[in-house]
């Protein structure tokens, strides 16, 4: 333990209630951004709202803007983000704010489903489990994006999301890509239709912020490129 303090500036949404408040938080050796926010709520401002669940980077509930960068706060060590001894924390970008640091993630998940981000199976619980070669290229491609924790960090990082309401966003499109490569999935046509619709993959400008900031080191940009490739092929084949 040290005697030092951290200057935590918390920007609370939404607008009418919005305020930029500075808190002096005691610094500790092992301390995450979430711990800083929690300390404020537990010790000085009991009205501060934020969201978390697992506290170890598995649930994707705790993402916020930290110094203007979207991050999973439970797995971000404070020393990584301190500028001097200061840090600015704000609600996640690109989603409506419920209160303070809590955003409404419905749009993010609605788009996930709109991108056909769910399994389209042909087999049932009566069938044996299919054999899948773990080294096949399709499986490897599919596997690459499957460990997404839907934290919406990529969604917050992407400027296309902020300027194009319909855009499905990197996480949803990446999910569609994992399904397109999943040999057990039978929804190819549906998925391609979904990802070439109004907010489809063609809207992505390959800014790469999604890939740059994904805390799990996933690569939605390349997944979306994959979708564009498949969509283009199917466009040439079917003329749509």
């Amino acid at each position: 333990m040290t005697e030092q303090t951290i200057k935590a500036i918390i920007e609370r949404g939404p607008n009418p209630m919005g305020a930029r408040t500075q808190f002096d938080v005691p610094a500790y050796d092992n301390q995450t951004v979430l711990d800083v926010v929690s300390w404020v709520q537990q010790n000085v401002d009991p009205t501060l709202s934020y969201r978390f669940a697992c506290r170890v980077g598995m649930c994707g509930s705790c993402a916020m803007m930290v110094n203007g960068v979207p991050r999973w706060t439970c797995r971000t060590h404070i020393s990584k983000v301190l500028v001097g001894n200061e840090v600015t924390i704000a609600p996640l970008r690109n989603l409506p704010v419920v209160k303070d640091l809590v955003v409404d993630m419905d749009a993010f998940f609605d788009k996930w489903i709109a991108a056909e981000g769910l399994h389209h199976g042909a087999l049932t619980r009566e069938d044996p489990i299919a054999k899948v070669d773990p080294t096949s290229s399709a499986r490897v491609a599919s596997d690459a994006g499957v460990e997404c924790i839907n934290c919406a960090v990529c969604y917050a990082a992407c400027d296309t999301v902020s300027t194009n309401q319909e855009y499905l966003g990197p996480a949803a499109l990446q999910r569609a890509w994992t399904l397109l490569n999943d040999t057990k999935d039978n929804g190819r046509e549906k998925i391609l239709d979904a990802v070439t619709g109004a907010g489809g993959c063609q809207n992505c400008h390959s800014m790469g912020s999604c890939t740059a900031y994904c805390p799990n080191e996933l690569d939605p940009m390349s997944a979306i490129a994959g979708l564009k490739r498949e969509s283009a092929k199917s466009f040439f084949r079917k003329g749509r």
Partner: protein, 123 residues
């Protein structure tokens, strides 16, 4: 109002400082620049029929430093946009997951070379 200013601050994003985003910005701005320049370019060329003398006077202007610089800018824009665009199409349509950053950097470098070559020739 202070309040408004504050909320603006919260929306500011600093998550753009990486090569791919800069490549995107460069591509968009160069595209925008080209699209805005194009009507001018067409209009000037059309002078060939309507008013050849004026076209000549205009073309003589290209010797002036300022105009040279502007031209360099244009060729630069075209080169940047051209290589950036090819990079994008390659990234999107060719099945590589190549190191995108070096591709972006490469595209920028080649654009510079072409534009500089043009400038040198022009001088």
């Amino acid at each position: 109002m202070g309040g408004d200013f504050r909320m603006k601050a919260s929306k500011s994003i600093k998550a753009r400082a990486h090569p791919l985003w800069l490549a995107y910005a460069l591509h968009r701005l160069s595209g925008l620049g080209l699209a805005l320049f194009l009507p001018l370019h067409f209009w000037v060329l059309a002078l060939a029929v309507t008013n050849p003398g004026q076209l000549d006077r205009f073309l003589q202007l290209t010797d002036a430093g300022i105009v040279k610089l502007a031209e360099f800018g244009l060729v630069f824009l075209l080169a940047v946009h051209f290589f950036g665009g090819l990079r994008l199409i390659a990234l999107e349509w060719l099945p590589w997951t190549a190191p995108q950053k070096s591709l972006a950097a490469g595209a920028a470098a080649v654009s510079f070379m072409v534009a500089t070559l043009f400038l040198l020739k022009a001088i």
